[in-house]
């Protein structure tokens, strides 16, 4: 079970690297913002998986805080595009 968790984390890290490719390549700033959104969604399960790997439930709070604040950041980016912050 632990090996499967590690393999899932490796797969998620590879997915993070793929979306970093789009982050570099992205022709306009909004493609980069989409890559930021996807990276947030990838990193949250990685944090939760790390919490199970070390068996400390305090790590889940970091994922929750990150979910709330990255929503704030992406909404700020979208509002910036629409009509200013």
């Amino acid at each position: 079970m632990k090996t499967l968790l590690e393999l899932a984390l490796v797969l998620a890290a590879a997915a993070a690297l793929l979306s970093v490719y789009r982050l570099i390549k992205g022709p306009e700033a909004f493609s980069r913002a989409v890559a930021l959104d996807v990276l947030t969604l990838i990193t949250m399960p990685m944090m939760a998986g790390l919490a199970l790997w070390v068996r400390r439930s305090i790590y889940l709070d970091v994922a929750l805080v990150y979910a709330v604040l990255s929503f704030l950041g992406v909404m700020a980016l979208a509002r910036y595009a629409d009509r200013g912050v």
Binding site: E6, V20, A29, Y66, Y80
Partner: protein
């Protein structure tokens, strides 16, 4: 003492370190300030995962709060009040 370096978790750490490196270089070289703000957000996200991996959840939580939420919003307000691209050298 036998320290095992080539584990799967260290592979994950290595990939995330690559993410930090690439996004930090992106912050430095990009002329479009909106793209640089997004790069800074990604860098703080990956650094937050690395802090968590180093068994410091409080530091990781602070990094997530400051890096993802506060500094992105403040940078966006600052960019809105000035110009979006940095011209010249």
């Amino acid at each position: 003492m036998n320290v095992d370096i080539l584990t799967l978790m260290n592979l994950v750490d290595l990939l995330i370190c690559l993410v930090v490196l690439v996004s930090a270089i992106g912050v430095a070289v990009h002329r479009n300030l909106l793209a640089a703000v997004v790069f800074a957000g990604v860098a703080s996200l990956a650094v937050s995962y690395l802090f968590l991996r180093l068994a410091a959840p409080d530091v990781a939580m602070t990094e997530a709060a400051i890096g993802a939420g506060l500094s992105t919003v403040i940078f966006l307000i600052a960019v809105r009040k000035t110009r979006e691209t940095e011209d010249g050298s």
